[in-house]
């Protein structure tokens, strides 16, 4: 039995690599946030913009932040974008909805908690940046609402995210 697990694992990795190579383009097209031109899905590369422009200023800022597996630690690129959001939302006139997600691996309820952790991480950072916590709503969808339907690392990496909306 262990032998077949190992061969399965090898097969899975090989398949994953193959599928990953072929669907990279597709996943970019299907991405919810057109601005996010991620290569491996671990960070956002857009530069923050000034807050002078108000709503239009944050239009180009990323609203999806990605995470490592089983982790709720904000990545540096996410921080950069969040600073921009914080500046925009600091005056308290907008309410932010943070939706936390996880990739499909692991159990559903545990992933609910993981999604919440990630959403909380973003919220805590925003609060640190001066946004009032009462204007932030966090919800976790766990693995229930993936943005990518595949079962490979490239899809999974896209699903481990927090989505910010106003």
């Amino acid at each position: 039995m262990l032998k077949s697990f190992k061969s399965f694992a090898v097969l899975a990795v090989v398949m994953g690599l193959m599928v990953g190579c072929s669907t990279n383009k597709a996943s970019e097209d299907a991405n919810l946030d057109a601005n996010a031109n991620t290569s491996t899905g671990t960070g956002v590369t857009d530069a923050p913009v000034s807050t002078n422009d108000g709503a239009s200023a944050i239009a180009d800022v990323a609203t999806v932040f990605y995470f490592e597996f089983d982790s709720a630690v904000l990545l540096p690129a996410a921080r950069a974008a969040l600073i921009a959001h914080a500046e925009y939302a600091r005056n308290g006139s907008v309410s932010i909805r943070l939706e936390g997600h996880a990739d499909e691996r692991g159990t559903r309820e545990y992933n609910m908690a993981l999604g919440e952790r990630r959403a909380n991480a973003v919220r805590d950072f925003l609060v640190l940046q001066g946004v009032s916590s009462s204007s932030i709503e966090t919800v976790s969808y766990g693995e229930e609402r993936p943005s990518q339907m595949g079962s490979d690392e490239s899809s999974w990496s896209k699903n481990r995210r927090v989505e910010l909306s106003y």
Partner: protein
Amino acid sequence: MRYWGFFILMLVGFARPAWAGLTIEITSGMDNPTPIAIVPFAGSNGLPEDIQAIVVADLQRSGFFRPIPKTDMIAMPKSESEVFYRDWRMLGASYLVIGHMVNTGGQFQAQFELYDVLSQRKVFQKQVAGTAAQLRDIAHAVSDAVYEAVTGIRGAFSTKILYIEDLRREGPGRYRLVYADADGARDRVLFSSSEPLLSPAWSSDLSRVAYVSFETSRPAIFIQELATGKRMQMTNFEGLNGAPAWSPDNRSLALVLSKDGNPEIYTLEIATRKLQRITNHFSIDTEPNWTADGKSLVFTSNRGGSPQIYQVGLINGRVERLTFDGDYNARPRLSPDGKSLVVVHRQDGIFHIAWQDLKTGNMRVLTETWLDESPSIAPNGAMLLYATQHQKKGVLAAVSMDAGVKFRLPSKQGDVREPAWSPFAK
């Protein structure tokens, strides 16, 4: 003093002459599925349900039997006088089931007999009756009787399952809570929503179901009465509301709330809505499951760094770790006899369902598919239902607890997941 004599007499009475012949020890076996011949019941032609096929499928899926194909049978006896043991012996059958259907004005009665071909004797003779709509139930009752007579274990072929189906298209009715027979037949939708549904759980008296619904844009726990369809929202807290689990007396739900800062386990008394906090740790504590005596919960926690299974006493609050094998063990489900645990277990980066003996701590992987989750044990402890992927679709699969036979339930329209196997009807 007179008792001494009696005692000596007893000793003498128990003394047996020593065996002087050859003794051969048999220390292992093959445990091959038992070959069984199910002869199509007489008088069952033209019935809307194929009783023999249902029984054959039940027994085959249990992993314990190997039904002999109908086409191999050289005779189709209808009564004991027509049974020639040698013929069935030649086919390789260890057991034989024959029967006939009696139809009296819409009421169907199956009269059936089980024969031990090797010992050449009748094991039992039984009957079960029902309406035309209950023909499948009649067939499952036959399977239960045969299964129990041969294995000593109560059959679970007449039980039900719940599962969640995701039709993968936006809009109302995308997510459905489905109720079906244990073999997946006669499915019907209990509730549907445009928002996610998860974690269906049976009350032990089969009267109600608890589940998590996102219909209010946030996860909340609902209870639905099966007979009437009546629904009741039980929680509406900030943050997580999830993983409902019925207490053995059906009076409380154990659940997960993060209203106090991080996911913790609480118990909620259904009648009074009284909430009691059970865990108190900054880690993620979730997925509670009650022990049969109602005195403790097993749950998932990553307080040790990664998800593992723990047990907490409801009275003393003492927490004890149960799993040590591997770096990811979650969603514990206790076996009906309380002696073992079934978990989602990660090995070499792949998620499987694993079984752990609570006394020895030995863990054994049961499934070969990957991305396996949501194991649910049959009420007789002999089989396991779980969710997995097949051809990019979510399907349910079952495995016998000795990991002998594995099979997939027929795939549905959408992704099927989160099975919950019902308890026995009392």
